[in-house]
């Protein structure tokens, strides 16, 4: 089975120790490597190389028991020593956080390992056992010590369902099924990942039968694939939400300070129409900035498209003729979507100027709080409701322009709460406050659109909730010829 990837294959994705706070490396990790615990069709913290895991009553110790049959591609058994080694050498996303919180990794015996925390931390498994980090993905200690870090990236040995046959950085990764994989022998014998950065070329390769699956199609190209009888469009649902951020709401002199104005803007957006135009209707309009798939999420229905009520609210707020809202910064490269949203605001009388910029510049300026006006943001960072909220609505949030004291208090309390139900209640309360105050105008949960060719019987789309790519690879199937 061959994929046409929208991204450039990076060598660092072959080594779990370098997993950054991105979902993309997991596209490769799920094939070559395996984790103690990872998101699987059964749930977000499904035991994998560990056959079970448990947490002590005081919340200070997490114990993992390894599977007997799990081996690396070179035949070495996966041991507790490899688990400790992998954690110690890990330097990717959340590495500092995990190492600050973990006092010691104790190898109890060959198949048993304990993580002792300095203090109870309810999010340990969110960071250790999901795609929020790559810390739980295990590499063979002996082999890594023998070949070194650079050697490992050139010829990685993992415990996943596929072993690497060849890798040309940036170009192609070829893998073959590993018969010794503990979960099952993969049905598809050979996987090929090919980087094809140009969307039109990816679609051509799919139509031509050169590849079986392509990622990231949009607009007219996706429409063309949909019209081709032998191909199908498949949406996966990563935890990525678009929303309108009212940056000036913290300024009492700004019209955005008035909840009625924010609500008016939210009601003026026809989310379904934007969805249809941008993602062929595959995205899911939402009323929350927290993805539905996240733990502790409190889903809200998308606000209805009600321009009449929006106008009425604006009149009530004292802006019968609308107002000049300044700059509007759509997240690059979603300019056309930003223009559509700005068009709805314009129809209401809220006049904005679209400011487009390159992605790195945009993110830096947003983070350094140099923007005024409106931002149309999106993030697909892994985690749970708490980790998502932290970045945007709390004192420590790198994109938070202001904070509601009540929200901050609740956020601090949930961080200390060990009882899951009580923590969930606190996080739900925060989301209710954000919703009631209309702190954001959520738009939709983005669909990540794939094109799938005629040979594919099971593409792996959305088998794992919130995962953007094909997985688990051992479950994929090609049609019998």
């Amino acid at each position: 089975m061959t994929w046409g990837l929208h991204v450039t294959l990076a060598s660092r994705w072959l080594d779990p120790a370098e997993t950054e706070a991105l979902i993309t490396p997991f596209m490769v990790l799920y094939a070559i490597h395996d984790a103690l615990v990872k998101p699987m069709p059964a749930g977000p913290n499904t035991p994998s190389l560990a056959e079970s895991w448990s947490v002590s009553k005081d919340g200070l110790t997490y114990e993992f028991v390894l599977r007997k049959l799990a081996t690396f591609h070179n035949g070495d058994p996966v041991s507790a020593d490899d688990v400790k080694f992998s954690f110690d050498r890990y330097k990717g996303a959340a590495a500092k956080l995990l190492k600050d919180k973990v006092r010691e990794v104790q190898v109890v015996d060959a198949r048993r390992v304990r993580f002792h925390l300095k203090e109870p931390w309810p999010d340990f498994m969110t960071f250790y056992g999901t795609s929020a980090s790559g810390a739980a993905w295990i590499v063979p200690r002996k082999y890594v010590e023998k070949v070194g870090d650079d050697g490992f990236k050139k010829a990685p040995v993992g415990a996943g369902p596929y072993r690497v046959v060849s890798f040309t950085p940036g170009v192609e990764l070829v893998m073959e099924a590993f018969d010794g994989y503990w979960r099952k022998t993969p049905s598809v014998k050979r996987l090929v990942f090919r980087s094809i950065p140009e969307e039109a070329t990816r679609a051509a390769a799919l139509k031509n039968g050169e590849v079986d699956i392509v990622y990231l199609l949009s607009g007219p190209i996706a429409e063309d694939v949909r019209r081709t009888p032998s191909l199908q469009l498949v949406p996966s649902q990563p935890p990525a939400v678009f929303w309108l951020e009212f940056l000036d709401q913290w300024d009492p002199k700004s019209p955005w300070h008035d909840r009625r104005v924010r609500l008016a803007a939210s009601l003026a957006i026809d989310r379904q129409a934007v969805n249809q135009a941008e993602t062929l209707g595959f995205s899911r309009p939402t009323g929350s900035i927290i993805p539905r798939a996240f733990e502790y999420a409190l889903p809200f229905d998308p606000p209805p498209y009600d321009p009449r009520r929006a106008k009425q609210l604006l009149v009530e707020a004292g802006y019968p003729n609308g107002f000049d809202a300044g700059d509007f910064y759509p997240f690059p490269p979603y300019t056309s979507m930003g223009e559509a949203v700005a068009g709805y605001l314009q129809a209401l009388g809220i006049r904005t100027r679209i400011q487009t910029m390159e992605r790195a510049t945009f993110l830096t300026a947003w983070r350094e709080k140099k923007f005024r006006g409106l931002v149309m943001g999106i993030t697909g960072a892994a985690g749970n409701a708490a980790t998502r909220l932290e970045a945007y609505v709390t004192n420590g949030g790198i994109y938070a322009y202001g904070v509601v004291p009540e929200v901050e208090d609740l956020f601090q309390r949930q961080g200390r709460e060990h009882d899951r139900a009580r923590r969930e209640a606190l996080l739900h309360q925060i989301q209710k406050i954000l919703h009631e105050r209309v702190m954001h105008a959520p738009i939709y949960e983005l669909a990540f659109i794939w094109g799938v060719g005629p040979r594919v019987e099971e593409s792996g789309a959305d088998l794992i909730r919130g995962h953007a790519y094909s997985a688990p690879y051992e479950d994929l199937r090609l049609r019998k010829q």
């Binding site: 660092r12 050139k154 139509k207 031509n208 390159e358 993110l363």
Partner: protein
């Protein structure tokens, strides 16, 4: 002569030094690479850690000092995106770029020179008009558009050629044409004007007066002399092709230096951009240096 060569060599070193400073500073004003390596919403700690790993938390003079001292040892640094040595990446891509540039050059000469000769010999007749239209199209149609049209026609519609990638001669056909097209037009124009100039010269008139067949006059007397400026341009174009194939390599997923540069820019992979620009610049500086020296050898009057 020795002084002249040393002076030119000195100028070349200064050019490369200025290029290194310029590219070092320019890539750094374009944004923070750390934010592109994580999801928006990643924690401060994660961003800080990436900056520390790349040395971006150091003051600019310290970063430049480290860059230049490594460079003098032949070390272009580690790619931020790939986490492998940049020189290794560059050298793995260079053969693909040379192959593509070579094939595009052959295409551009095979198409450009004969059409230029025919246009000159049949000047102001319909063949010349066809040649002019060809040159106009070649110079005005962007290579990515030519590339996409070819993919649609030859890959999707006819199914004759693979749409992208590398590995076989078939993979090379469309990228070489897409890249060579614009250069073919340029070579055609130069061949035409050069041939017209030569065909009007005294010795060609003499050859005709001697009663030599027209084919022999054109092929033996005119063509050889008209070819000199075309080949000079082709030599320079070959270096340019290696370095400007960014768009074509991206459209066809061709694993060359151009695509590496494109990725480097897209991901703010400073070491990759620095290395590809510097090595590309070094190629041009070296070619210019050799040309300067050759001029001086050929014509002793030349002493700039």
């Amino acid at each position: 002569m020795k002084g002249y060569i040393l002076r030119r060599l000195g100028y070349s070193v200064i050019s490369l030094f200025l290029l290194s400073v310029t590219i070092f500073l320019f890539v750094r004003v374009t944004g923070d690479p750390a934010v592109l390596l994580v999801e928006p919403g990643a924690s401060k700690d994660d961003l800080e850690m990436i900056r520390q790993q790349f040395g971006l938390d150091q003051p600019l003079p310290v970063q430049y000092g480290s860059f230049i001292t490594s460079l003098l040892r032949g070390d272009f640094g580690q790619s931020f995106y790939y986490r492998t040595p940049v020189l290794e990446l560059y050298l793995s891509r260079l053969p693909h770029s040379l192959l593509l540039a070579g094939a595009a050059m052959v295409f551009s000469l095979v198409v450009g020179i004969p059409t230029g000769i025919i246009a000159a010999v049949r000047v102001n007749r319909w063949w010349d008009s066809v040649g002019k239209i060809f040159a106009l199209l070649g110079l005005s149609m962007p290579s990515f558009w030519v590339g996409l049209l070819m993919i649609l026609f030859f890959s999707v519609y006819l199914g004759w050629l693979p749409s992208s990638g590398s590995g076989t001669l078939l993979h090379l056909v469309m990228p070489a044409i897409a890249l060579g097209w614009v250069f073919a037009a340029a070579h055609m124009r130069l061949t035409r004007s050069s041939m017209l100039e030569v065909l009007g010269s005294e010795y060609v008139k003499l050859a005709r007066l001697k009663g030599l067949p027209e084919a022999l006059v054109i092929s033996k007397h005119a063509f050889k002399n008209a070819l000199i400026p075309v080949l000079t341009l082709a030599g320079i174009n070959l270096v340019i092709m290696v370095n400007v194939a960014v768009v074509v390599e991206t459209v066809f997923a061709w694993p060359g230096v151009g695509r590496l540069l494109y990725e480097g820019i897209a991901f703010r992979d400073f070491p990759v951009v620095q290395a590809t620009v510097l090595l590309g610049g070094a190629m041009i500086v070296i070619v210019n240096l050799l040309v300067d020296i050759l001029y001086a050898v050929i014509d002793p009057r030349i002493r700039y």
